[in-house]
């Protein structure tokens, strides 16, 4: 990756190590989300880990490096879209089955990745919502400058 802001962030050692670790953290987050219905974890935990991979990158490379690659507006929108999709899933359950947030998909075979009906899908929505939300909270707190005086 080309870095347009080489003077921001931490030392070369941290940046080099971050280049190796950030993917691992991101991948681990995805694993936690996608296996949420099979093992401990789920959308929230995975979303937090994914947000932390961004936080990791921000700490090592400075916030401009991250913001040149992800759009703040897009993050904001994705967060709302994920929440809306979650509610809409609930409404689909209401009209298909008769109860809010009822399962309307086949439950599949136990212990396989594609199983447990709509739960993996909901985990992904929660992951996007929590991940984006948490990163934005971090970003806004980091860019807050108290007024002089």
């Amino acid at each position: 990756m080309q870095n347009n802001f080489p003077n921001e962030g931490m030392s070369v050692i941290v940046k080099t190590i971050t280049r190796f670790t950030v993917w691992l953290i991101f991948l681990y987050g995805l694993y936690i989300v996608l296996h949420g219905h099979l093992s401990p974890g789920g959308g929230f935990a995975g979303g937090v880990i994914i947000a932390l991979s961004y936080v990791h990158l921000t700490l090592a490379y400075g916030k401009n490096f991250v913001l040149a690659r992800v759009d703040k507006f897009a993050m904001n929108s994705l967060e709302s879209i994920a929440a809306i999709l979650f509610v809409l899933t609930g409404i689909v359950g209401l009209y298909v089955v008769g109860n809010f947030l009822a399962n309307f998909m086949g439950i599949g075979k136990l212990y396989t990745l594609i199983s447990a009906g709509y739960i993996p899908m909901l985990n992904i929505f929660i992951c996007v919502k929590v991940g984006m939300g948490l990163y934005l909270v971090f970003y806004y707190l980091a860019s807050f400058k108290p007024q002089e005086g």
């Binding site: 904001n76 709302s80 809010f100």
Partner: protein, 501 residues
């Protein structure tokens, strides 16, 4: 009849506002108003259709049956509360369309407003202890943000104070719920009540009572848990003050107390006595502290503490008449206190100050605001035929007929104090000598309309006292509260006792 729409309609509205209204701020008001109008209509339908369903509608979410899932329970009490909340919410949102032009970040305001409404509707409908906690936190966290909405140092301080005290007491409530869960292995309210029925009153329960009284007592702003209210309510934008004072303290406080202590724990005497004491203290202290205030909205804040005391002693009497009085005062106070807060907002909008010492002689220049404030004053002071008269009268009669003569006399005397501090408002703001503050801006149409509707409701809602209407609509609600653990019996048929399927 779908109960979940009380929760998902405002929730969806909140996120739609965040998604679409960031660039075009006018969409925010349209979405918020549409959502409010929708659930207001649905809450009226729910209230009038309820008797046909035998006084109880129970919806399980996610297709399981209780106690393995969260249930939404609509009975007479919750249907009544839904109308109160959504009526005030609709009018506040309508008022806010033009009021909020004085602030930046309109879409933020309406998104948070909708989230707060989601939380309140959730608290009213839920039949599950932990869910109650979650919805309470949703509405409280949005309320903290809304109190700080003006981002002045005073407002941030008030919000921080509210957030700190709210968080501590929310933790107490969570702790109490945890104790109940560890004792009964269930979180469904009716199931908890059912399990406790078989074991009597273990000593552990008294700890839970204490935690809940402190926790929900702070949400109700009962003395001595009131310190956050006089800062937080005046700091918020006027429509939010109206929501906070009008319905939030009643939903998260009084309703939760009544639902838990009456319907789950069967109204233990010791709790009623404590609530009686706290209610009486609130009436007196709130009333006398209002007299010395010079900030219009702060005065109204203290007045809320005093008036919520009336509601609480009504319920704490535990007699049908007392509960009727409590319910009526809850409804009427929601109307006239939100009216008065909206009026104070209009005064602030027009003159840019709410210091009574700088105001004066506004009755000629602000005719609508002046007239509606007069209606609010007459209602809250209990002048017939305005609604406050009937509820206060019933509470005082109930006190005396229940043998609590001292409380009855205190309630009657503080009612005079109420008149005194509202006469102070009238004299210093609307009549008397012209103050240094000038009317800089006219009060816009939407604000006026909301105030006029609320003022009209102050008179119209007295009609509930007509015996035939009272018998048909109010008595079932009183029976729900008086029936105490009959709530459990009504929910019991829905309980799945056969273990996980």
């Amino acid at each position: 009849m779908i109960l979940s729409q009380f929760i998902f309609v405002p929730l969806l509205a909140a996120f739609l506002i965040v998604l679409f209204a960031r660039k075009k701020e006018n969409i925010a008001a349209v979405i918020a108003l549409a959502a409010c109008a929708w659930i207001l209509i649905v809450s009226f339908i729910a209230f009038f259709k309820l008797p046909a369903h035998g006084g109880m509608i129970l919806n399980n979410t996610s297709g399981w049956s209780i106690p393995y899932t969260i249930s939404l329970v609509l009975d007479n009490l919750s249907a009544f509360m839904l109308i109160v909340v959504n009526l005030v919410a609709f009018l506040s949102a309508f008022y806010a369309i033009q009021y909020i032009n004085h602030f930046t970040g309109k879409w933020n305001f309406f998104a948070l407003f909708m989230l707060m409404l989601t939380g309140m509707n959730g608290v009213i409908l839920t039949g599950d202890f932990f869910n109650l906690y979650v919805f309470m936190e949703i509405s409280l966290i949005s309320a903290y943000a809304l109190v700080a909405f003006g981002t002045e140092s005073e407002e941030l301080e008030a919000s921080f104070k509210y957030a700190t005290m709210g968080a501590i007491t929310s933790t107490m409530i969570l702790f109490g719920i945890g104790i109940l869960y560890s004792y009964t292995s269930t979180l469904t309210m009716a199931d908890v009540g059912l399990q406790l029925r078989n074991v009597g009153t273990p000593k552990l329960l008294f700890l839970v009572y204490g935690l809940f009284i402190a926790g929900f007592g702070l949400k109700t702003a009962l003395v001595p848990f009131h310190a956050w209210l006089p800062d937080a309510h005046p700091s918020a934008p006027a429509p939010i003050s109206a929501m906070l004072s009008g319905v939030l303290i009643k939903t998260l406080g009084v309703y939760a107390l009544v639902r838990i202590f009456f319907n789950v724990f069967g109204a233990p005497t010791v709790v009623l006595q404590i609530l009686m004491l706290l209610g009486t203290l609130s009436i007196v202290i709130g009333g006398f502290l209002s007299v010395v205030q010079w900030d219009f909205k702060r005065l109204l804040g203290f007045s809320s503490i005093s008036q919520i005391g009336y509601v609480v002693i009504g319920f704490a009497l535990g007699t049908p008449l007392g509960i009727l009085g409590g319910l009526l005062h809850l409804f009427y106070h929601a109307i006239f206190k939100s009216l008065l807060f909206l009026d104070s907002g209009a005064v602030e909008y027009a003159t840019d100050t709410r210091d009574l010492r700088q105001l004066g002689g506004l009755s000629k220049e602000m005719k609508v605001t002046s007239a509606t404030t007069m209606v609010g004053t007459l209602s809250i002071s209990g002048i017939p035929p305005f609604n406050g008269f009937f509820s206060k009268l019933i509470i005082i009669i109930a006190c005396i007929s229940a043998g609590q003569i001292v409380v009855g006399i205190i309630a009657a005397l503080v009612s005079i104090v109420t008149l005194a501090y509202f006469l102070k408002v009238q004299k210093h703001a609307f009549f008397g000598k012209k103050g240094s503050a000038k009317v800089l801006e006219k009060v816009p149409f939407a604000m006026k309309t909301a105030m006029i509707i609320l003022a009209a409701l102050c008179l119209i809602s007295s009609a509930i006292m007509i015996p035939s209407i009272r018998k048909q609509y109010l008595n079932p609600i009183v029976d729900t509260v008086m029936g105490k653990t009959s709530y459990i019996d009504k929910v019991e048929p829905y309980l799945d006792k056969g273990g996980v399927k």
